[in-house]
């Protein structure tokens, strides 16, 4: 086989023709981009150690059990145990309920906020900081504030409602309102980042498109629908996928505010996983649940990519 090397090392401006040996070719290819490969190795090592190895280890652990310090292979026992757990399906229902509500608010609220900020001629940077502030707070500290705001007895929210002669709420203390309360907290804590991403996308839309739409007599809503949404479609769909993956792993809010209650109404899949691992001392069962969650989220991501690709082809 004869190969023509059309890309030489810097300074090698001649085109050479030769029959390379496989090893020599690889060596030269590596040498050509030595610095890039060195950086790549660093990143690969980090991924291998902190992402891929734990994933493989988790999968292996999900088929094992540890008793008195000794590890045994147990086949699908851990999976059978989690599927038979009466909390398993309610935890999925809670997770999906949270994902559904959080997605609606976590998607709409930052997008609307970005639209509004984008309309301001002045003070945009101040508003951006204001919206991003909750993200800068340590999550637990921020979330803990709501424990006091939402206290059914002396909480700020009920005092405000009471002052306005509106009915008060049990917030986190009732299984009817606990999940929605967590969504409020989660939206407040996380919308800053999404708002900035949407704002960046909005600012990349050429102004001429809006001017043209205005000349055609389009009002505000039509301009948003026919210009803004199509122009930010890619970002919107990417953020949708990322938010689904993130909200399905909700843990901190439940852990800090409700402990999975009242009556397990805020026990999500990840909270259940945490319980198995750290409260029940069953790391292997937790690993099995983690594998199930990984498969579900993996399937969702694959579906998203397939739909994206199909949309792109059309």
């Amino acid at each position: 086989m004869t190969t023509t090397l059309t890309r030489g090392r810097p300074g090698a401006d001649t085109v050479r023709t030769r029959t390379p040996r496989r090893g020599g070719h690889l060596r030269r290819a590596l040498a050509r981009n030595l610095r890039a490969h060195a950086f790549l190795i660093g990143a690969l090592l980090c991924f291998a150690l902190f992402t891929w190895y734990p994933m493989v280890r988790e999968i292996v652990m999900s088929f094992q059990k540890v008793r008195y310090g000794e590890t045994h292979w147990v086949g699908f026992d851990n999976f059978r145990q989690i599927f038979a757990d009466p909390e398993f399906w309610p935890a999925w229902r809670n997770t999906l309920e949270f994902t559904g509500i959080a997605l609606f608010f976590g998607f709409v609220a930052p997008f609307l906020t970005a639209l509004v900020i984008n309309e301001f001629r002045h003070a945009q940077s101040y508003l951006r900081i204001l919206v991003y502030l909750p993200v800068m707070l340590p999550p637990v500290a921020g979330i803990l504030l709501f424990k006091y705001f939402m206290d059914p007895g002396y909480g700020l929210f009920n005092q405000i409602l009471d002052f306005l002669h509106l009915p008060t709420s049990s917030w986190l203390a009732s299984q009817d309102t606990a999940m929605f309360s967590l969504v409020i907290v989660s939206t407040w804590a996380n919308m800053g980042s999404a708002t900035l991403v949407y704002l960046a996308a909005l600012q990349s839309i050429p102004g001429e498109l809006y001017e043209a739409a205005e000349l055609d007599g389009a009002g505000l809503l039509r301009r948003v629908w026919h210009v803004t949404v199509p122009q930010t479609r890619l970002i919107l769909s990417l953020m949708l996928m990322l938010q689904v993956v993130a909200t399905m792993q909700m843990f901190t809010e439940s852990f800090v505010l409700t402990g999975g209650g009242p009556q397990g109404s805020t026990t999500t899949v990840v909270y259940m996983l945490y319980n198995y691992a750290f409260n029940f001392d069953k790391f292997n069962t937790a690993a099995a649940l983690g594998v199930v969650l990984l498969l579900v989220l993996g399937a969702f991501s694959a579906l998203y990519l397939w739909l994206e690709r199909r949309g792109g082809e059309e």
Binding site: V66, R67, Y68, G69, E70, Q81, A84, D85, P86, E87, D151, P152, G153, Y154, S170, L172, A173, S174, Q175, T258, G259, G260, G261, P262, Q263, G264, Y274, N275, A277, F278, N279, F280, D281, F283
Partner: protein, 475 residues
């Protein structure tokens, strides 16, 4: 195969390196490089001249000024007895042992040489494979009073006749109550309720005081809900598991009674606050600020309220665990130190010697009430000396007699406030198997009783029973 010169040199260097590292590792793991220094497991106390370094966790931290000062003093005193023993004590702040943190520590095999665990955690601790069998090391010579320890304490130290742990604290649950609120509500602060009916009636009267005051409070999350359910179930004569430990037994008339009473108190009497308490520490601020009339707890809760939260030392009384017709059975609990595997006999002996000195010797360590009294005199921070509890010896033992006497002389708390508890010792029942898991499951039942006005308590308890059976089957 012929090796060239450089290959031979490399092989030699590698072999030498391996030998050196093996030697280094064995020296590290044993703590000493020769057998004489490592000592032998001969059932004798530590040689006072032995040179050894040990580590231990759960030393008082920054939030316990008095405890920290006492501990430092004890380390210095111990050094006069064993001048060549170095103790690396790891301090804690808040709760000494958080279950989740402890589980992670077990998985990483990252315990100190002597490591703390609650009675509740025996299964998890042994399951970690890190606990050393110390049967050969413990006797009346190495641990004076060992043979007179209470059977309920010994149960928690031993498995299949082998000793794995040493107790440092033992309690039976009682009723902590605010004497001032009792007076305001027209109740006799020297006669706390001894039955659940009396408790319910007293809670109603205290709540009627208004001003955000609640008669009684209870847990409903963070494993503490199930823990208190167990306590209340035992007090009514109920059982958590069957005698063989294979099935749940709490879905019983007693179990239903526990939930129904709490539900009634919360929604009919309104004598329990609407704010759910889902973490261990969350119960204490309302107690410390005089907003709660009664709460089930161990005597050390009163110490925590005074020393950590600055509550009024005279405000609290301690009564026996209420029961069906009089003081009921009580859930026994406590703290232990396990010894980590892989240490030299001398390290194990030194850890036993320190634990014995610090936690099990009258007039020394935690029982050095005379020293605590002196320190309290000059301390800006509150010091509580000390709420009486069963500790871990029988009432007739010389240890308990000496401690009781010292407390009378040196204590700074109103001991008569605790007479209802001291004079009504209740039968102590140990925690169930898979305790943390069962407690977690029963959090949901407690949460239903305390947060849902329309809760179907029978159904909630039946669900918990089926979950518990599954856990017990997978033990």
């Amino acid at each position: 195969m012929m090796l060239n010169r450089s290959s031979r040199m490399a092989a030699l260097a590698l072999a030498a390196g391996l030998l050196l590292s093996t030697a280094a590792c064995s020296s590290d793991s044993s703590g000493n490089s020769n057998d004489a220094a490592a000592g032998v497991a001969d059932g004798k106390p530590l040689d006072p001249n032995a040179t050894v370094t040990i580590s231990i966790d759960c030393a008082p931290g920054a939030d316990q000024a008095a405890g920290k000062a006492n501990y430092a003093d004890d380390l210095a005193l111990f050094k006069t007895k064993y001048p060549n023993v170095t103790i690396n004590a790891k301090p804690y702040v808040g709760q000494c042992e958080v279950p989740a943190q402890q589980t992670a520590q077990y998985k990483a095999h990252d315990e100190t040489g002597a490591f703390h665990a609650y009675f509740t955690d025996r299964d998890a601790t042994l399951n970690s494979g890190d606990a050393q069998d110390i049967t050969k090391y413990v006797n009346d010579e190495t641990l004076p009073g060992f043979s007179s320890m209470l059977p309920s304490v010994k149960d928690n130290m031993t498995v299949d006749g082998k000793v794995y742990a040493l107790p440092i604290n033992y309690y039976t649950t009682g009723l902590i109550y605010n004497r001032e609120l009792f007076k305001q509500a027209g109740l006799d602060p020297d006669k706390p309720p001894t039955t659940w009916d009396e408790l319910q009636a007293a809670a109603k009267k205290i709540s009627a005081l208004g001003n955000g005051i609640t008669g009684y409070q209870d847990y409903s999350g963070g494993n503490t809900g199930g823990w208190h359910f167990t306590s209340e179930l035992y007090s009514l004569g109920g059982k958590m598991v069957t005698d063989d430990g294979k099935k749940a037994a709490f879905n019983s008339p007693e179990g239903k009674q526990v939930l129904k009473r709490l539900h009634d108190m919360r929604f009919t009497d309104q004598s329990i606050s609407a704010t759910p308490i889902t973490q261990w520490a969350d119960a204490f601020p309302p107690l410390a600020t005089g907003k709660v009339g009664m709460f089930l707890g161990a005597p050390d809760v009163i110490k925590h309220l005074i020393e950590v939260l600055g509550a009024d030392a005279k405000a609290y009384g301690l009564g026996p665990m209420p029961g069906a017709t009089g003081p009921g059975n009580s859930l026994g609990g406590g703290d232990l130190y396990y010894i980590k595997k892989g240490q030299t006999p001398n390290q194990i002996k030194a850890e036993i010697a320190w634990i014995n000195f610090q936690y099990q010797t009258p007039d020394a360590g935690q029982f050095n009430f005379a020293r605590a009294k002196t320190l309290a005199g000059s301390s800006k921070d509150p010091v509580a000396i000390a709420v009486p509890q069963p500790y871990f010896w029988s009432a007739e033992s010389p240890q308990i007699k000496a401690i009781t006497e010292s407390l009378k002389t040196n204590g700074n708390l109103p001991l008569s406030n605790y007479d209802p508890y001291v004079k009504n010792p209740t039968k102590s029942i140990t925690e169930p198997p898979a305790a943390q898991q069962l407690y977690k499951i029963l959090d949901t039942a407690m949460s239903a009783a305390l947060t849902d006005p329309n809760a179907n308590l029978d159904s909630v308890l039946a669900t918990a029973e089926s979950q518990a059976n599954q856990i017990l089957a997978n033990q």
